[in-house]
């Protein structure tokens, strides 16, 4: 039995990687998510206020010397303040989303709440919007400030899985402030690698990297900032970049209801007459 299950596990991993998350594995994931998403959403709605309350109590450690009555009173008030603070923070995020200005304002947006996450070694997360809200696989996802977070990888009726750009298999074609086209590669953590090849211009720390427009993401979305200055070596630049989105604190995100179409590509080509982005099809948000 053990051997059978171990071999089956290895086969699943191999097939899943070869299918890049699609195929039977993708169908299985959709089915599982359809079953678990409503339960996860309910659990989150129950757990969140409790966690906020406990957080509030935990913040009162410094008041232990005061008398018990006063401590309890303060605890209650602090808990309320924390609740209000959490609500204010959420309101602020919603305001940011309402004021969100995208490079292409014609793209419809759909705010969504993060209802579940992977474990310690999985940075993907689940949101509470699905096909019922018009989401499709491949829709880009940004945070409340418009910074690129990732893309929708699996959609069910009521929920969707988002694969973040920090995944090790993630790659986003970007344009630096020098105008050169490069690629940002995920590292599986809150750090990215920025590569330009061929490169002619140096890049400097804090240079903003935006999506260059490709089959995966519309152009102009802020992605990351260059962490370390670098000059071309053998016509190539490879340096670190810091993503603009804070992946540990995402509670609300915005789904851009955008998918690549050949017409978009033609429009991009026609006015500027510039060389199209190479390897656009190779860009991926990961499995």
């Amino acid at each position: 039995m053990l051997v059978v299950l171990v071999v089956l596990s290895f086969l699943l991993m191999t097939f899943d990687i070869r299918a890049s998350g699609g195929g039977v594995a993708g169908t299985l994931r959709e089915g599982t998510q359809a079953v678990f998403a409503p339960v996860q959403e309910f659990a989150t709605s129950v757990i969140s206020p409790v966690v906020d309350f406990v957080d509030g109590l935990a913040n009162l450690a410094g008041l232990r010397d005061e008398n018990e009555t006063l401590r309890q009173r303060i605890a209650e008030l602090e808990a309320r303040i924390d609740e209000v603070g959490a609500l204010e923070a959420e309101l602020e995020t919603l305001r940011s989303i309402a004021d969100l200005t995208l490079p292409d304002e014609s793209i419809p947006i759909k705010p969504a709440r993060v209802i579940a996450r992977g474990d310690n070694f999985d940075s993907s997360f689940t949101i509470d919007k699905g096909t019922r809200d018009g989401l499709v696989v491949g829709n880009p996802v940004v945070d409340e400030n418009g910074a690129l977070v990732g893309e929708v990888s699996i959609v069910t009726r009521d929920a969707a899985s988002v694969v973040p750009i920090i995944r090790p298999t993630g790659a986003v074609i970007v344009e630096s402030q020098t105008g050169e086209i490069g690629v940002v590669l995920g590292q599986g953590l809150a750090q990215l690698i920025f590569e330009v090849n061929p490169a002619t211009e140096p890049v400097f720390a804090d240079f903003l990297l935006r999506t260059a427009g490709s089959a995966k993401f519309p152009p102009g979305l802020p992605v990351a900032k260059v962490a370390e200055s670098a000059s071309p070596e053998a016509a190539k630049i490879r340096t670190e970049a810091i993503p603009l989105a804070d992946f540990n604190r995402l509670k609300l995100v915005v789904v851009l209801q955008w998918t690549f179409s050949a017409e978009d590509q033609e429009e991009e080509k026609a006015p500027a007459g510039e060389t199209p982005v190479e390897d656009a099809g190779a860009e991926t948000g990961g499995t």
Binding site: M13, I17, F36, G118, F121, T126, G188, L189
Partner: protein, 168 residues
């Protein structure tokens, strides 16, 4: 009785999966959460026969894989191995509380290291995570703490009230 225990074990695993992806998505101490699913597999595998135990490990891991984006089968493989290791060693670590606690720490450590190593082999790049060693060290510690509640509970639930004396 056996069917009832397997059913309860599956229910416990499902609850653990839901809590892992919701509660422990928010509750992270030093940016690390306990691995409740792994702990549940260890706790339950102590009280099941070998085959149901490894099947439970596989099923629990597969559920986590299906809800996440890492390679399908990664956690299924790891939790299958952990369930098997638990079944093989349970006679030795069921001696006293200290031995049980040490077993939880060692099995959790084995599980986390397997996730990191096999994940890396399958393109997950877990070793590049600057927090990887913190996770490897803290997850077994958190599981050890949670085991204090989980083990007696799983024993009572799976073996029934008659076996309360075996809570440890």
């Amino acid at each position: 009785m056996r069917t009832r225990a397997i059913g309860l074990a599956l229910l416990a695993a499902a609850i653990a999966v839901i809590l892992q992806t919701t509660l422990f998505a928010q509750v992270r101490i030093f940016e690390v959460a306990p691995d409740l699913v792994m702990l549940t597999v260890i706790a339950v595998a102590r009280r099941l026969d070998a085959e149901p135990a490894v099947l439970l490990g596989f099923t629990s891991g597969l559920a986590m894989d299906l809800l996440g984006s890492s390679p399908l089968g990664l956690r299924a493989l790891v939790l299958t191995v952990i369930a098997y290791a638990t079944v093989r060693t349970r006679d030795r670590f069921d001696i006293n509380v200290l031995a049980t606690g040490m077993a939880v720490v060692l099995l959790s450590l084995l599980g986390v290291v397997l996730i990191v190593v096999i994940g890396t082999l399958f393109g997950e790049a877990s070793f590049r995570d600057p927090n990887v060693f913190r996770k490897i060290l803290l997850i077994p510690v958190y599981n050890f703490v949670l085991a204090g509640a989980m083990f007696p509970l799983s024993t009572v639930v799976l073996l029934g009230r008659r076996r309360r004396e075996l809570v440890l």
